[in-house]
Subunit: 192 residues, 2 copies
Amino acid sequence: MAKVEIGAVPYVYPVPIVLIGAMVDGRANYATVGDCAIMGIRPALVAISLGEGHYTTRGVVATGAFSINIPSIDQLALVDHFGIVSGNDVDKSALVESEPGTLDVPLLVSCPVNLECRVVEECTVEHRRIFIASVETTHIDEAFVSEVDGRRRIAPLTELDPILYALDNRYYSIGGPIGTGYQEGAKFAPEA
Amino acid sequence: MAKVEIGAVPYVYPVPIVLIGAMVDGRANYATVGDCAIMGIRPALVAISLGEGHYTTRGVVATGAFSINIPSIDQLALVDHFGIVSGNDVDKSALVESEPGTLDVPLLVSCPVNLECRVVEECTVEHRRIFIASVETTHIDEAFVSEVDGRRRIAPLTELDPILYALDNRYYSIGGPIGTGYQEGAKFAPEA
């Protein structure tokens, strides 16, 4: 299987699309990013990357905290719009409903999931500010949480309906479940 | 829309599943992780997180480099297996076909996409080692690269068929395209 070399392109796909929330000069602001990932479960860690000159970045640096707000597909127009316009030009706090978090972060109410994150490490690479943060607490719309046999169950991704993105500049939906972690490996056979 | 607080859970979803490759004591090794993200496009940056005691981590620290190998769904058993077994116990280089990269990293041939990454920053948070890296070059299976009107076109994700994962311990497929970046925002209307 021959390969084509395409140069220095970070072709990791797909990425989850999220809205990073921060208080900037006392007002809620949100920026749409695809540069967001889990960096550990216990401890609960995430990483995000923001442009150094971005409006949201100023709030994250000032408060040492941010929220990750995970939208559903029915919020696609909002998500795309908030990736186009800057808080420098538009007061986004007037366009959506926010609630204060436990930390000094805004939570975007219409998103089904909100994470409150506290910065624990950061670094700058050229014009990118990268923040490693601990997740202090997470809020999920009660419509997606149920109790099954006395245990809390969070709805599958097909119900949470997240927005994915890739470097082909397309948004994608999630497909269906295709297997269970730590079980599919039983079918493994070495390559010839 | 009332929310339920579920505590310190990094509920970012879905995550792309990748195989992190590193040379460990001169042999190729791969670890399956979901802790991988784009951290910037220009410059091309990524972040990964590995357990401090993991076998692959030793190779990344020693060489200052790693590969990101992105599998397709037909490799699900391999992916899951390589997340279960450790290079401490199994010589994974004997189970899959590797090619050397330009950097001192192994490329997993059967994956349609391989990125060669050079560590530029790192930090440790408890037992997690987090590596920020620049993508030096990327290889894509020629079956997924074509030329349209004189421009290089990479196949849509529906053809690349990546494996997604979420904290419900399920693997998922990608769905279909639902929109184009920087266009959907035109439909935005402020929340009531």
